[in-house]
Structures are given as structure tokens and as C-alpha cells.
Subunit: 134 residues, 2 copies
């Protein structure tokens, strides 16, 4: 069911500083910041040879990463996103296995404009898992 | 400087359960467990199309992931490993930029038999970063 690792998301308190770190200190190719107000984050993409890392900074009120950053003020790995071919089939298989889907269980349009679901960390070894249909 | 994302390591309290989760619930290809006593972990590789996830369970006394699991009893993302072509050049560039290398600053032989270094999470947005020379 799982395809590629689409991205690892790292929540950061200071996107400019984190971008400079990946660009200048680690020598990676990083995008310009993109504000995604409907997702409550500003994102910078770190382009690696086989996948990407997304640096996320809270944007606006009620950002979905605000709670994480209040617990982890230096930042940290927030979620991991795996690709699936059919998100409804994936969702139904997960539910049949007793895994909890966050929210109302229906795919939403994610930050890349594709259908996504988030899975409950308690069911996945303490890791917030995003599935994205590609 | 950064090449591929070599792996994301997820520390887990119960490797058999986490393996079953990735194999049966998420439908991924997972390896058999490999005990790495010199690294204080038993590892299962989750093979994705473009990279891998490593599930780590503590092995023996003084496992390097024991402290993390005591703080995160459900498990969680422990570190992210990026490939570099020349680990000494990478190390020297990082040190020149003021980044802290864990341990004595000299590459060690990692779990894949290749030279690795770990970078201080406080210098990398709260994320434990491993560099592996490939």
C-alpha cells in the first residue's frame, strides 16, 4: 500500500533561520517560503535527491503546529508523509484494522493540492502519519 | 552537500508490534529484525520506493534510544539521516559554521557499516541529524 516517502515535516520556530541552516550550513537546495494560510503554516521545501523535507512555521491563529512548538520550542520532526495510490482504499483498510483516522475520516485537500489523511500517532508508534494520494 | 535522505529512524517500544503495523496495516515491505548489539538496537527496515524507515527497539543496557523512549513511551521519530559524499569535508564545514558534532567529533562506523556523525539537535531545529558517508 505504501509508495514513496513524500516528505518529512519539521516544525520550526523561525523559518528564516531554519532555511539558512539547511541552505548555508547543510548545503541543501531550499525553496522560497510559501505562505499557506488555509493550512496555518508557511513552508520551505528542502529538495533532496530522492525526497524532500518540509520546514513548517506557524501562520495565523490556531496553526496546527502551534501546540507541537509549545511543547518543542526548538522545533522537531512533526510528521512523516507516505504516498498511496488510492486514499479511500487505504483509509478503508486502515479502519478495518482498527487504526484511527484524524478528523472526520474523509480526505482533505493537503498542502500540495492532493487528497490527504492524517493517522492517529497513538496507533503508529507515536508518529503522526500523513497519507497523500498521488 | 546533502545527498539523499538515507532513512528516518523511528524508536519503538515493541518492534514486533511496530513491524506488524507497517507490514500488515500499512502494507509495506519490512525486513526481519536485525540485532545490532554494538549499536544498542534491534532494527527492522521498512523499504519504501525511494528511501527507508528504520524501526529501532532498544537492545541491552545503555541503549542510545532508551532515554528517548522513556520520554516518549509510545515511540516517535528519533532521527533523520542524510547522505554526504565526504563526511570529513561535511564535518569541517559544519564546525566552521558553529554546529556541534556529538561525541568526540570523529566519524564512527554506523549501523550500515559506513562512517557516520550525529549533529546536535539544538543546532538543527530540534532534530537529531545523522550524516552518513555513502
Amino acid at each position: 500500500m505504501l509508495g514513496k516517502l513524500n516528505h518529512v515535516a519539521i516544525a520550526v520556530p523561525d523559518l528564516e533561520r531554519a532555511s539558512a541552516l539547511y541552505r548555508d550550513t547543510l548545503g541543501a537546495c531550499v525553496s522560497r517560503p510559501q505562505a499557506l494560510p488555509e493550512h496555518g503554516v508557511t513552508v520551505v521545501f528542502v529538495e533532496l535527491d530522492n525526497t524532500k523535507v518540509e520546514l513548517l512555521e506557524p501562520l495565523g491563529e490556531g496553526s496546527p503546529i502551534a501546540g507541537f512548538l509549545s511543547k518543542n520550542p526548538d522545533g522537531g520532526m512533526h510528521h512523516i508523509c507516505y504516498e498511496v495510490a488510492d486514499i479511500i482504499a487505504a483509509r478503508d483498510r486502515l479502519k478495518a484494522d482498527g487504526a484511527r483516522i484524524l478528523g472526520d475520516g474523509e480526505p482533505k485537500t493537503g498542502a500540495h493540492g492532493k487528497p490527504v489523511l492524517f493517522l492517529h500517532p497513538k496507533d503508529f508508534a507515536g508518529t503522526l502519519v500523513e497519507l497523500e494520494q498521488v
